[in-house]
Symmetry: C2
Subunit: 311 residues, 2 copies
């Protein structure tokens, strides 16, 4: 049983109530908590030593990453983050100086985005250091950007460059909060999500959420990071750069769709607004079966080997 199959089994069993506008399955849940103008976004996420960072990673960067991952999910809904709570799991004997450093990194990023940190639980673990952040955000009523809003014929866009995040970006990336809020105001936007497990793993989730059967990518249009290219040339773990770009994961870029006829304007306006963040149109959604990659005259299926937990 894969993680995807397990989630498909568990999701319909989760209890719901009248506070829920959108439950599990998107980057954040959307809740109705009594405000006349806004809805509340809700997200939880953990980083674990040995998986998301190593024993050598500076604790400041670990704390920063723990929050930044959640901020990226708020960004993908077009939201503004408001308040977070932190659970620290620490082995016995963990040095207080490292905890302080972790909070320094987390607090600095929180302050930069006007996020309040309103709770910090600490628990003991038998040997692994981990941080869980749960984060709230706010979004204008009924306007949250959903991954379920794509349609066949939409163009497919991605911000930034993909792949090679392990070289450092996975710790130091800038969550695309301004870009997400801008998409919320922009005409012609379809579905939006953040790329956390890699395009080859995340695009199928967007398609499934939207009930769209296929997509066609232009291989040469996929923005490959310098790191993915360099790692493709050297080292034991070399992957072809395109494969790295679509499977490495932890890109924390925005993947979104644009209705037919809106692409050129969206590209132009993005360039004017965010000149330092590349925006690429990498293909379109189709009513065909599965994801195809067009490379010159050749067409091949995209191998779905992004990061799968327990794989």
């Amino acid at each position: 049983m894969t993680e995807t199959e397990l989630i498909a089994h568990l999701k319909p069993l989760l209890p719901t109530n009248d506070f829920v506008v959108n439950g599990a399955g998107d980057d954040c849940a959307v809740l109705e908590l009594g405000s006349p103008d806004t809805q509340t976004l809700f997200k939880t996420d953990a980083v674990v030593e040995g998986i998301h960072f190593t024993a050598d990673t500076e604790p400041e960067r670990v704390g920063r990453k723990a929050l930044a991952r959640c901020l990226s999910d708020i960004a993908a809904m077009g939201g503004t983050p408001t308040a977070g709570v932190v659970t620290l799991g620490l082995p016995r004997g963990f040095e207080p100086e490292r905890i302080k450093a972790m909070y320094r990194g987390l607090n600095r990023l929180a302050a930069q985005h006007q996020v309040a940190v309103v709770g910090g639980e600490t628990t003991t673990t038998p040997g692994t250091w981990l941080i869980n952040v749960a984060l709230l955000g706010t979004v204008p009523r009924g306007r949250a950007l959903l991954r379920s809003a794509a349609k066949p014929g939409d163009a497919l866009f991605v911000s930034g460059d993909l792949g090679g995040s392990i070289a450092g970006k996975h710790l130091d990336f800038e969550p695309r909060l301004s870009e997400g809020r801008w998409l919320l105001e922009c005409a012609g936007i379809g579905a939006v999500m953040d790329l956390s497990d890699g395009l080859a793993s995340d695009l199928p989730k967007l398609l499934a959420a939207s009930g769209v059967s296929g997509a066609e990518l232009h291989k040469s249009a996929v923005p490959i990071s310098r790191e993915a290219r360099e790692r493709g040339r050297t080292g034991d773990l070399a992957k072809p750069p395109f494969v790295a770009a679509v499977t490495d994961g932890e890109d924390f870029e925005l993947l979104f769709t644009v209705r037919p006829g809106h692409s050129v304007r969206v590209l132009d306006e993005w360039k004017a607004r965010f000149p330092s963040v590349r925006l690429s149109c990498i293909g379109k959604l189709t009513d065909g079966a599965g994801i195809l990659v067009r490379d010159g005259g050749r067409v091949q299926p995209l191998p779905p080997h992004g990061y799968e937990h327990f794989a």
Copy 2:
């Protein structure tokens, strides 16, 4: 550096903003998210294998406990829980059947309290199973029950029986949600908190939060559970029952103070409303120094050895 000292260092450094009514330091944070009538409660908490449950604990009870602990914190604010998100950290190769069972236990308790589960992240850990729950609740505007509201002269009350929770109650306790909401409506209530680390550890937190210097407990009035008495008689880990009652931890009972002149009415009304839950008046707050235990004619300081993380 103890956990308490570390928290005292970290708390003033946490960023805040206009959404925050009460930040870190109480059972839940209190937020202002735009609703004219209500405020939002926010809490995070984790249970970890080897600390809060064992490899043998039925996964249903683990899932239940993970949520129940957060519900107990909402109860201590007089709130009503609304929606939660779950982070599951699992070692590779963890059986899907155990995950399903964990969610069965968690979902059942959530449904019982009309709590929606709106997100379920899964992450890999290098060997330990853990569950983090972040929970939202709602409380009438400006009415949340705080641990900072005690005054010298208040009587001190505790619900239920204390100690010996490890015999089973730590997994199967009923969060005191109805009782908490009742306290919110009740005249003469001072400070409220839930007992998670044991009275000897938690009462000092209530005093510190309220700026009250002392308390006097009547030893014979402290309600000692049957399990704490039995464990006091047998086994290698035998503690005197009173010591077990005040130091075992994981009682998940409500500790609260009552203004002078209100105690008898509160006791009478509680008995009528919650006939199956014992309520005990165990002493009073003073402007003396520290916590004293009165045992017949003897008076002794309460040893502050509840559960301290990293101790």
